[in-house]
């Protein structure tokens, strides 16, 4: 995989998705994390999904968020991307506040991101390669021919054959769609990549290939990754740090190696997949 040209054909924009360390340092101070979430509140009607969530993701770091189904993991990612508006709290990306941002300035922030949606969210009016090349052509104004080449490269990287590039999303299996979504997320070589359950629905071997690809994105391209997964083996493999979301808050966060020594009953129950424990009693209540 090659780091795609980030700003060709778009000379006025500057490099939107490769903010240099100096730049981020000047804006957010040297120690400031890439993403800084503070005291985030989000509810739907009377349902409180996030209530006072805090999370830091450092530059070049790979963080995995774990947590029960419906605990608000996907909602968190959407809040950071400005797709959902939180009621309260602050989200900073490279030291820049994104809550309440709109229009062009939000678009500029979004150029730093790549996102794999939980259900892939492929454009079904476009072929597979056009999906993958979308951010390059529409977002960066790259020539179609060149974008097409990069798209096919990325498809190979996620283990899909060249023929798939000319198929329609509706003709793909669930796991194939997921991988196309992954290829689309990394196509623009973004600075920050969100993976919402990247390996769900894949066979174990392909899951491992994808895990390695994510690690590669982070190590080789220097991207910052925030992933969601239920698969603990995958979480251990791709993450530098793990954070557990429960009851609208991060109840534990720490280096991946320490997750077995967390001494947190919720975390223990979750990573060992036990039905008995503090979480189950809450679910049954």
């Amino acid at each position: 995989m090659t780091p795609g040209p980030s700003n060709e054909g778009d000379p006025n924009e500057g490099p939107p998705n490769q903010a240099s360390p100096a730049e981020s340092a000047s804006r957010g101070g040297p120690q400031s994390p890439k993403i800084r979430i503070r005291d985030l509140y989000k509810s739907f009607g009377t349902k409180h999904v996030l209530s006072g969530m805090d999370l830091d993701v450092g530059a070049g770091e790979s963080v995995v968020v774990i947590g029960g189904s419906g605990s608000g993991k996907s909602v968190t990612l959407k809040c950071v991307l400005g797709l959902l508006q939180p009621e309260e709290g602050s989200i900073q990306v490279d030291g820049e506040e994104v809550v309440g941002l709109g229009g062009e300035s939000l678009e500029l922030v979004r150029r730093k991101f790549g996102m794999l949606f939980q259900n892939a969210a492929l454009f079904d009016s476009l072929t597979v390669w056009q999906n993958v090349a979308f951010g390059l052509i529409q977002g960066q104004g790259m020539a179609r021919r060149q974008a097409r080449e990069i798209a096919f490269d990325r498809l190979t990287a996620v283990g899909l054959e060249a023929e798939v590039g000319n198929m329609w999303p509706a003709e793909l299996s669930g796991g194939m769609r997921k991988r196309v979504g992954l290829a689309r997320a990394i196509a623009t070589s973004p600075d920050i990549i969100f993976f919402d359950e990247p390996t769900t629905g894949l066979d174990p071997i392909m899951g491992d290939v994808i895990d390695e690809l994510i690690v590669k994105c982070v190590r080789e391209l220097g991207a910052t990754a925030l992933s969601i997964t239920h698969d603990m083996a995958s979480a251990r493999k791709i993450s530098d740090r793990i954070a557990m979301l429960y009851d609208g808050r991060i109840i534990w966060a720490g280096p991946t190696a320490e997750i077995d020594r967390s001494n947190n009953p919720y975390v223990d129950q979750f990573i060992h997949g036990r039905a008995e424990g503090p979480i189950a009693s809450m679910v049954n209540a």
Partner: protein, 257 residues
């Protein structure tokens, strides 16, 4: 006051809808005027609206023209005023029936499919994906449709006018025994530029309303397949009602003395 509560709630909901629709309209039209434009998408929508609506609009027009000639004949024969038939046909078709019927047919065809397509994109998070890929959905989805609607409907209606008058001609010549050259001469004499122009202005407004309703209801749909179904129905119903009411307003503007 338990009686006032539901009334107040309905009024508030109505005002909220009006506000949201106005905002949607303002944002959409402003994106129609500002680059970047998407010529490919615009062309695709123009073909979709203009070309693929031709059969249904043409059929509607020809039968309307035919039935118009037939009915006027039954009425006018009593007063020996059959010679007014070309007049009735051309005036009714160009002023009213052409734009309104074409508008309603296109609302059913195009408005529904737009609401369904954009609604599906909404509920399957494709619109969120557009946003994250730094592409504005108003620019990418809404603007090409609005522009195509505003430009294609007049062309469709002009075609419908011609076909409708031809339908009246067919019935008059082959069924009612009119003289062909006299019928054409009368039609030509009675044709007024203002009638045709008012019809085309209506068509353009209808094109805007149809595509706006399709996009608005699709964009705001939620809750899976059922939500998309509701959006589709709402798009067609609201577009039809808006077509009929704005038709009255435009007629008033053009012809009220």
């Amino acid at each position: 006051m338990p009686i006032l509560q539901p009334i107040g709630r309905t009024v508030l909901a109505f005002l909220e809808t009006v506000g949201r629709l106005s905002l949607f309209t303002a944002i959409s039209t402003s994106h129609c005027m500002r680059p970047p434009f998407y010529p490919r998408l615009l062309l695709r929508q123009m073909v979709e609206i203009g070309y693929y609506s031709l059969p249904v609009v043409g059929l509607t027009a020809i039968f309307t023209g035919m039935v118009l000639a037939l009915q006027s004949y039954t009425g006018f024969a009593r007063f020996s005023a059959e010679s007014a038939i070309p007049n009735v046909v051309i005036v009714s078709i160009t002023r009213e029936l052409g734009p309104v019927l074409a508008g309603l047919m296109v609302a059913g065809r195009v408005g529904a499919s737009m609401a369904a397509e954009i609604g599906t994109m909404r509920v399957t998070e494709q619109i969120d994906a557009l946003d994250t890929l730094a592409t504005n959905p108003f620019k990418y989805l809404v603007a090409p449709r609005l522009l195509a609607g505003v430009t294609m409907l007049p062309i469709l209606v002009l075609t419908a006018d011609i076909i409708g008058v031809f339908g009246g001609y067919l019935v008059s010549i082959f069924k009612l025994g009119f003289n062909p050259s006299l019928y054409i001469k009368n039609t030509w004499d009675f044709m007024e530029a203002l009638d045709v122009i008012s019809g085309l202005v209506k068509a353009s407004v209808f094109g805007f309303l149809i595509t706006l309703m399709g996009c608005y209801h699709g964009y705001n749909s939620k809750g899976g397949a059922q939500g998309v179904g509701t959006a589709t129905t709402n798009a067609v119903v609201s577009a039809s009602v808006l077509i009929l009411s704005s038709n009255y307003l435009i007629t008033e503007l053009f012809f009220a003395r």
